[in-house]
């Protein structure tokens, strides 16, 4: 359809109109945020220039570089899990819970099967289970929205905590690893069922491939398919979609299920690629950071990829911060928050005209 002579209109002119302003926003964010964060660091009595120098050096280190990509893969999936429902006008704040449930589902399959079946097959089963689990958890919220009109932003948020409690309940009791030195966690996944690594001894695993495949798939589906077009219509005005004869309920449900499946996949990538066992705090806010990555990218898939790498790099800088400057790793949340505030704030909302 791109090679026709018929003037196919630019499908998204409003984005074109805003592009300059957005680029400016990104530049200001990238330039301004470190200054603000540097001020906080300086108040703490640490030289901000040393901090940034350390962070950049550590990112240049291939080991750290791999770690950034490992993290970016999870964030990318978590971001897409927000971006797809957002196309349909749904707010998926529940990435965190869907990731946890994805990881729990994968772990459940792994615990049962990893000693009995060939590793590759176990991995495939875990992928399916994780995506189904994540989709089901998101589908719960979508179902509540469609049947009893409970707002999905609220229900997905609440379900995050329930999901975490489910995981904790499992690893504190039925799935508890007896040889876990008293730390509550599940038994580690067998080596054969883990996501394969690119280099022996490295950390970069096949998760990045899954994430990129998902990225391309989501991008193409949203851009070229009727389903993607319908999602935009429903997201822009569900009543208009209904009046045009679209099945609004199933469309909303499909968007949320796809989002949940992507988040479940993120849970699998984190579990079978990095963690190998369930433990408290294993998701470290991936869902929320993915939410913000999606907003940073205005829910556009390719930009979610960029945002995921950026946010992953900031977070990985936290490790060097902790080691070199003695600041807690969570301090980097400040840098991330400042970047996001500047970007969110530099985008003037042209929504309502009086």
């Amino acid at each position: 359809m791109t090679d026709t002579q018929v003037t196919v209109p630019d499908v998204r002119p409003q984005i074109v109109d805003n592009r300059q302003k957005q680029v400016l926003g990104w530049v200001v964010a990238v330039a301004g945020a470190p200054v603000i964060f540097g001020a906080f660091v300086a108040v703490k009595g640490v030289n901000p220039f040393t901090v940034y120098a350390d962070m950049l050096t550590s990112l240049a280190d291939p080991v750290q570089g791999q770690a950034v990509l490992v993290r970016a893969a999870v964030l990318l999936l978590a971001g897409l899990a927000v971006a797809v429902p957002a196309r349909a006008g749904l707010l998926n704040v529940g990435g965190e819970g869907q990731i946890v449930i994805g990881a729990v589902s994968a772990a459940g399959v792994g615990l049962i099967a990893d000693q009995r079946l060939p590793g590759g097959l176990v991995l495939v089963l875990m992928v399916l289970a994780a995506m189904a689990g994540g989709a089901a958890w998101a589908g719960l919220a979508a179902g509540l929205r469609l049947t009893v009109k409970v707002n999905e932003a609220i229900s997905t948020l609440l379900l995050n905590f329930v999901a975490i409690d489910i995981m904790l309940g499992l690893i504190y009791d039925p799935w508890k690893d007896a040889s876990g030195f008293g730390q509550p966690s599940s038994r580690p996944l067998a080596d054969t069922a883990r996501l394969p690594l690119f280099t022996t001894g490295g950390t970069l695993n096949a998760g990045i491939v899954l994430a990129l495949l998902a990225l391309v798939g989501v991008w193409a589906a949203l851009r070229y398919t009727t389903w993607g077009f319908r999602l935009r219509v429903v997201g822009g005005n569900p009543e208009a979609a209904r009046r045009a004869g679209m099945r609004v309920g199933p469309l909303l449900l499909s968007a949320m299920l796809v989002g949940g499946a992507l988040a479940g996949l993120a849970g699998l990538v984190h579990f079978a690629g990095t963690e190998f066992k369930l433990r408290p705090g294993m998701t470290t806010n991936f869902g929320y950071i993915g939410f913000l990555a999606s907003w940073l990218a205005m829910h556009r898939p390719l930009r979610v990829g960029l945002a995921a790498v950026l946010l992953a790099a900031i977070a990985m800088g936290g490790d060097s911060l902790q080691i070199d400057a003695g600041l807690p790793a969570a301090s980097l949340n400040v840098l991330m928050a400042v970047v996001l505030l500047v970007v969110l704030g530099s985008r003037l909302a042209p929504r309502r005209k009086s």
């Binding site: 359809m1 077009f229 822009g236 209904r242 004869g245």
Partner: protein
């Protein structure tokens, strides 16, 4: 004509309460008001006439301080005054009754008025406030119930509250923006009685309207705007014929619609049949009561009624958008099961009452809007065939000739009138079996309104069953083969235009029997 007109201009009954000179207001390249001179005398009703887009609302918002002028001066009681905010306007005794009535539905009447009154501090003094409201409502002859929730009031009652609110906050000059657009003729009469009483009490009123007969009925003087300029100032409406006033408003004369009615032969089976239809409104109340209605192919049925009498629900039931709680709806002989897809498949198209809420996806282009129905249809193709959509757009635009905006424009950036053109082109550009058009000419200029009416008649002549809801009885009388009147969800009667007049219809609208 203006030279001749000056001789017929009447002096105001008293020195000007408000005079503006050289008022100019630009939005980007558009000059909405261009050097406007305007005055209101104490104790007069002054109508500002003009088409949509003539600059009436802009002028009023300048006077009320919502917009700031790029040039121009205000005199209040002959004293130069700066009005750069609604607060300044209110301080000068100018009050505005907005078309969309700025009331909080979740608040009581007293709370709404309390919000508007110039008071200070945290205390409300509920009892004293209620007393003041009762006093004021008696003084001005505007009965209201202080403790009633605004949500439960009718539009007419809300308008009374709004007017009282403006009066109680100390206004001497009231600006009423299209106050009759939501009222039945008899309610309009009641409003006019109240307005005359206010005039007698020494207050000044400015009425924005595009309806000639109303301007004649209520106004002491009229000022006509066209294209942001004054074309007729301080004129006595009695001194002008309708044709002269229309020409002033439009800048050209509009020939009347041909009134040849193709005889609707009773033999054909109805394209739309409603039998004993009951349906609930959005608030859960019964909005349609046992409605029996047939529309034959080749018939244009007008629907009249006070706003909120079940028009919306009637349209939605026929388009499969709303479930019936009793009775049946048949389209082309097949029973409809509240599925929009089914209605669309049966050849039904709709023009929604409120296109911005019901039909417009703000981020989509004109072309993409034309693709809406196509993409909604069967899932044979994975992608959208944009080439076919573009070809269809060409066809629709060529047939409808409504001067639709360029196809790459995004709907969110279009004005209300341009949005309506897109919606109308999509619905009326190709023949349909059933057309359900709610307020099709809302927000359109006179020429486009005319073209829209022609399109509706063309659809009828091509054999469509056409239903048109309108608040403009003159429009209904001129295009309909038959007019059905809704009152409170009941079908109060159906009349033939050639056998009735607006007051007979008005009686039905208010629940009386057909004469």
């Amino acid at each position: 004509m203006s030279v001749a007109a000056e001789t017929r201009v009447r002096r105001g009954p008293a020195p000007a309460l408000l005079a503006v000179r050289g008022l100019t207001c630009r939005f980007g390249d558009v000059v909405a008001n261009d050097g406007i001179d305007f005055e209101v005398a104490a104790g007069e009703v002054h109508a500002v006439l003009g088409e949509n887009g003539a600059g009436k609302s802009t002028l009023m918002k300048l006077i009320y301080g919502v917009y700031r002028p790029d040039a121009g001066e205000f005199d209040v009681d002959g004293v130069p005054t700066v009005i750069r905010s609604p607060a300044a306007a209110r301080a000068a005794g100018i009050g505005m009754v907005f078309q969309d009535l700025r009331l909080v539905p979740a608040f009581t009447v007293a709370e709404n008025i309390g919000l508007a009154l110039p008071m200070r501090g945290p205390l409300l003094g509920r009892r004293a406030l209620s007393r003041r409201i009762v006093e004021a409502s008696e003084r001005y002859g505007l009965p209201v119930e202080p403790d009633a929730l605004v949500r439960h009031l009718s539009i007419g009652e809300r308008q009374r509250v709004e007017i009282l609110k403006v009066l109680m906050s100390g206004a001497r000059l009231l600006i009423l923006d299209e106050p009759t657009s939501v009222l039945a003729p008899q309610e309009v009469d009641a409003l006019f009685v109240a307005m005359r009483a206010l005039r007698t009490a020494g207050l000044s009123l400015v009425v924005i309207t595009h309806k000639l007969n109303e301007a004649r009925a209520i106004a002491d003087r009229v000022t006509v705007l066209r294209g942001g300029r004054v074309v007729l100032r301080n004129a006595d409406p009695a001194g002008f014929s309708d044709a002269e006033l229309v020409e002033a408003m439009v800048g050209q004369t509009v020939p009347p619609l041909p009134r040849d009615r193709a005889g609707s032969d009773g033999g054909v089976a109805p394209a739309v049949r409603l039998a004993g239809v009951r349906a609930a409104g959005d608030r859960g109340h019964t909005a349609l009561h046992d409605v029996d209605l047939d529309i034959r192919p080749g018939e244009l049925l007008g629907v009249a009624g006070v706003a909120g009498s079940g028009q919306r629900e009637l349209c939605e039931v026929i388009l499969g958008l709303r479930r019936v709680t009793a009775g049946t709806v048949h389209l082309g002989g097949a029973e409809l099961h509240a599925q929009p897809r089914q209605a669309i498949a049966a050849g039904a198209v709709g023009v929604p009452e409120d296109p911005v809420t019901d039909a417009v996806v703000p981020g989509l282009t004109v072309l993409e809007h034309l693709a809406l129905g196509r993409a909604a249809g069967g899932g044979k193709r994975v992608g959208v065939d944009w080439r076919a959509v573009a070809a269809q757009a060409e066809r629709l635009d060529g047939t409808a000739r409504l001067r639709m905006a360029p196809r790459h424009r995004v709907l969110g950036e279009l004005s209300g009138g341009n949005i309506q053109r897109v919606v109308l082109t999509r619905a009326l550009g190709e023949p349909a079996a059933v057309v359900v058009a709610a307020y099709p000419s809302r927000g359109l200029d006179i020429a486009t309104t005319r073209r829209t009416q022609e399109l509706l008649i063309e659809q009828r002549d091509a054999g469509a069953a056409v239903l048109v809801v309108s608040e403009d009885l003159d429009e209904l009388l001129s295009i309909s083969d038959r007019i059905a009147v809704l009152h409170d969800g009941h079908l109060a009667g159906a009349v033939r235009p050639e056998e009735t007049d607006r007051y007979a219809i008005g009686r039905l609208m208010l629940g009386g029997r057909a004469a």
